[in-house]
């Protein structure tokens, strides 16, 4: 039945995606909710929250705020908080409540900017879309707001866009990517994972951008248009993610975010796999699709696809194992935080 979930819990929503992008950048993040959404975002979808403080707040909406559309109250609360906190920008992030009452985010942003004197981002997430949609909106809003100055291109500087724990399921991914490029004599800047707002402001100085998740593709295109910065798509760390198995002649089904899955496909083909199909629960960009790739919406889409006996190997998050009790091939677990809410346990490996 459409929309019915019997095995999997709901995936990370768009508001969690937006927070994931902005979490480390030193702004005040206000989730426009009654409290429950911020609890979900922080307590479940933001693994950095337990170890690293961030100015993240709930708007604390109550029924009468929603019924009467009291945006002025939110602006007043935000202004009062900004007076007490050392923050460089403010972001207002939507949830189902403002989506239902039709909050005018542009007006809310303008009012807040005027009152606080801070740059304000408004992300019109609604809690019904998935994390990648929220990330896409947040990446674009962030770079459009802050990456405004032309700068001379710095040779060897690589901008990495799209790195979040939701997508990469690894809190040290930023460091690993920086090290990888450093070994090649390049300076990688991993926006939102270790590199902050100043790096975003200097985006024009990158020699090229590396897009590591589909949600950053639109931003890479924007930066190309704005500053002429070229981009490539890929995730070089996949080489260390695949367990040592004999993939020769194997038919492999991968379920993950599209960029990481495509990078895995490339690696598997190099290791001798005969057929690799990519599918994803999340947005699949047409320019990154190969023939036969599949977008999954319902649980049945996946169980029917995986039921085909031709698959020798299925690569997916561990939580999907229970959906395939009759699968007799090799299950390789590679975590996807946005699906299971669990981080990668190094090293990923074949299911036991």
């Amino acid at each position: 039945m459409k929309g019915l979930r019997k095995y999997l819990t709901p995936f990370a929503p768009d508001q969690s995606g937006a927070v994931s992008v902005l979490y480390e950048l030193g702004g005040i993040l206000v989730i426009c909710d009654a409290g429950g959404c911020v609890g979900n975002v922080c307590g479940f979808d933001e693994p950095r929250w337990f170890s690293r403080k961030s100015a993240i707040f709930s708007a604390g909406l109550r029924d009468m705020d929603a019924i009467l559309g009291r945006d002025d109250r939110l602006v007043a609360k935000l202004t009062s908080a900004v007076e007490k906190l050392d923050v460089s920008f403010a972001a207002i992030i939507g949830t189902p409540v403002p989506a239902v009452i039709g909050t005018d985010y542009k007006a809310l942003g303008r009012m807040t900017e005027k009152k606080t004197g801070l740059p304000v981002l408004t992300i019109d997430t609604n809690g019904m879309d998935l994390y990648d949609k929220g990330q896409e909106k947040a990446w674009l809003a962030l770079f459009k707001k802050f990456a405004v100055d032309e700068m001379p291109v710095e040779k060897g500087r690589v901008g990495i866009i799209g790195a979040t724990p939701q997508d990469l399921s690894d809190l040290s991914a930023g460091d690993k990517l920086r090290q990888l490029f450093a070994a090649d004599g390049k300076k990688a800047v991993c926006y939102g994972m270790g590199d902050g707002l100043d790096a975003v402001k200097q985006a024009a100085s990158a020699e090229y951008n590396l897009v590591v998740s589909p949600s950053a593709l639109e931003t890479a295109k924007y930066l190309q248009k704005q500053f002429g910065t070229p981009y490539v798509v890929g995730y070089p760390l996949v080489r260390t993610m695949l367990p040592e198995l004999d993939y020769t002649g194997k038919k492999v089904l991968i379920v993950h975010q599209q960029v990481l899955a495509n990078a895995l496909r490339e690696e598997l083909k190099m290791r001798g796999a005969s057929e690799v199909k990519v599918c994803s629960w999340f947005d699949m960009k047409s320019e990154l699709l190969e023939e036969g790739d599949v977008y999954l919406k319902e649980e049945d889409d996946f169980t029917e696809l995986a039921a085909d006996s031709k698959w020798d190997v299925i690569i997916a998050d561990n939580c999907m194992t229970a959906m395939l009790p009759k699968f007799e091939g090799q299950f390789v677990w590679i975590r996807h935080f946005a699906v299971s809410g669990k981080l990668m346990q190094w090293k990923a490996g074949p299911a036991e």
Binding site: G3, D33, G35, K77, M128, G341
Partner: protein, 434 residues
Amino acid sequence: MMQDAFFCTVGELAAMGRENIPPQFISGAHLIYSSPATLAFNSPGAEGFGVKRAGLAIPDSIMLIVAPGCCGRNTSLISSMREYDQRFFYLMMDETDIVTGRHLKKIPKAVKEICDSLEKKPSVVMICITCVDALLGTDMERVCRKAQEAAGLPVRPCYMYALTREGRKPPMVHVRQSLYSLLEPRKKKGNVVNLLGFFSPLVDDCELYDLLHQAGVKTIHEISACRDYEEYQTMSEANFNLVLHPEARFAAEDFHDRLKIPFIELTRLYQIDKIGSQYRAFGKVLGVTFDDQAAAESAQKAVDAFKAQYPETAFAVGECMNGDAFELSLALVRYGFKVPEIYGTITAENFIYIKQLAAISPETRVYSNMEPTMLYYDGGNSGVNMAIGKDAAYYHQNCPNVMWNQDRQPYGYAGVRRLFEALTEAENRWEEQP
């Protein structure tokens, strides 16, 4: 730029009075800071008992969460507990559902499909709906009746309306009412009592069980201890209900109106003498005199033992624990300890403890976990050397702590004794650390 967390001393708060509580302590007056110390407020379901977990207190029940995906996201934390395996299902709403309300038509079909797919039929299906349906004004009672017809078993609504958390009937009050709404009138038995308020039983050695037996009670029901649906139904045979948590008051009133079962309310306290007075008053209502001396003595012994070993303990007391932060602080100060800091929400009920604390420990600082400047809280010079509560433990990671937020509920003298035993154990463990 102020870089200190806002606080008031207990003395200042008492002087200002209940009518003049500073806005920093009123959650609706400011943005609500999100830190691990406020998780229980922002997302009661993320730990302990929120609406989702509480809604499944009826034996063999299942829950269908009908909501935008974001509302059910953290449920996998609960689903991973063995007792909730295969008990949560989701019907996810999209924007079209919100505009057209078509999701409501899908609910009966979804309930039937789930029930048909399960090996064992559930006793009840709880339909959990969220803020979106609160705003849409959904008549969930009607939808549940339709679903009940389709599935052939009871279907009840469960409202996870965070928007109404400070209203007359917040979600945790509503869910308690919902849980008991399936009880049918039965013949009363004079020796049966229900304990209302918690979603897990009291600690095994709680003296309240013995005291009730002394009063002639033979059967004590707690919803979480019912083995099956039939046993749950026997709760309507009770002679009276004992309300142990104020959020169960509405449910108790419902019992009274619908099933003609009266109720008596008791408060969870950590002051040994006050526990005794409460039991005496309770006994008077029942027409008995309780013998609670042994239980009171063992509680006092635990307090004395801890005090003998750790007389200089200075506590930080948080609100994320099984008790009222202000009442527990008052108890600790009366036992002779220091309480430099409390993290709590001020209510009409606990202001009385603030006034009493002001007389004996006016310099105790009170912080609100939710206030924005808690981002800058630094407990380095607080003088605290032990923490009680999950929030207090988060702020004071460099001293021993007792979370005191376990599912099994500490109560009465047994609660005091167990708390001080836990404190002693935590101190000993801390000292043994390399």
